[in-house]
Symmetry: C2
Subunit: 203 residues, 2 copies
DNA sequence: TCACTAGGCTACGATGGCGTATCTTATGTG
DNA sequence: CACATAAGATACGCCATCGTAGCCTAGTGA
């Protein structure tokens, strides 16, 4: 059954950037579906419609592909502190996390990776050194420090613990409601009912 | 080399409770080490030093064994509200979570299960219906409601969000510091710096 | 236009888990 | 003490992934 002219889909051979993007896409979809431990070279190859050998030529493990994909795709948003006052900036900072969770591809992928990272410290370290660190992060804290410097809030109230509250509540929501996003207005509630009181801002 | 009395280790054939306990122990250790997706009938059998067939006789999947083991071993502590006043009770309630995290066997096992559950809603549901629900839980909330009923705090401040803060911060600590326990005094900081201000208790 | 390179295809033995069947034997009960 | 039952041991065919080898070919750029 060998045609002289095969169907276009088969004759077009992707290379370089195009192929790389397809593989990155594939590894993210794959990990979202099967979980990190279920991530396999064959699976990635199947989904990317490429050959296993092509993968082995460049990477030595599924995890390497994944980390590379994440490093490229992970959002590097620049949080504009002082965009709308303390309250709005806090809401926006926490909202960044919702955006990530809500991303149809990145969201589930990050979830899968992070849940593995809880159990594998090396992976956790790797994510920080190879994915998160290059970007910065810690938005909420930056916002808090900004307004503390302006004298709007007591600097003593800004620390590792208080800066973590917002993200931790979003995280817990994800843990308690797998596959769901927090309801509309959740960030606002976090800010109004928790963060502002903690920062000593009276409503 | 056949003594009438062989070495206890080989001649003693465990059954019933004794064997069951060994299997439960094995599945917990196993899942802590390999993660839930790595959990396998053969692995459990090896670790429990029993035969794979003995496992298949009673269960149909590694996960079933695990859930059963968790249901039996999961602590069913009765939170004594009103043991030492609002602050102390809150610290104690959050401390229950540390106890669990610190348990050398149950801690890692729960971690592994929960991280999988984030990605597998059915597992999440199963944990709630078959492990958590039978016990009650929601300690922090119970404490808060107790003192709200006494008029010590504003009932309006007690809700799903505020009741989650303590556990969520402990959870985030676990996520950010795999394999570590929060430092001594962490629960106290959570209560003093976050919960009390949120509940409107002035320090 | 031609040669080189990157990508694609197939096959391979190895490993390890799956779930089942079959047989042997220890152990507590009646 | 004999027996029914629960536990242990061994073996099987099946399947998926592993990582590598060998070869083929499309696309690119000199």
């Amino acid at each position: 059954m060998n045609d002289h002219k095969r169907p276009a889909a088969k004759t077009t051979r992707r290379r370089g950037r195009e192929l790389l993007d397809a593989i990155h896409q594939a590894v993210l979809l794959e990990v979202a579906e099967t979980g990190l431990p279920g991530l396999t070279m064959e699976g990635i190859a199947r989904r990317a419609e490429t050959a296993k050998t092509s993968l082995y030529r460049r990477w030595t493990s599924p995890e390497d592909i994944l980390i590379e994909a994440l490093r490229e795709r992970y959002p590097r948003e620049n949080p504009t502190a002082d965009a709308g006052g303390l309250r709005e900036d806090l809401v926006a900072a926490i909202g960044l996390m919702r955006e990530l969770m809500g991303d149809r591809i990145l969201g589930p992928a990050m979830l899968a990776v992070n849940s593995e990272a809880m159990v594998r410290p090396e992976l956790h370290r790797r994510m920080w050194t190879e994915v998160y660190d290059p970007q910065g992060e810690r938005f909420t804290r930056r916002v808090m420090e900004h307004y503390a410097a302006l004298g709007h809030i007591d600097p003593a109230r800004v620390n590792d613990l208080t800066a973590d509250i917002g993200e931790s509540l979003m995280l817990k929501y994800a843990v308690d409601h797998p596959g769901e996003l927090p309801p509309k207005g959740y960030e606002e509630r976090i800010v109004d009912e928790v963060l502002l009181p903690v920062l000593g801002v009276r409503s």
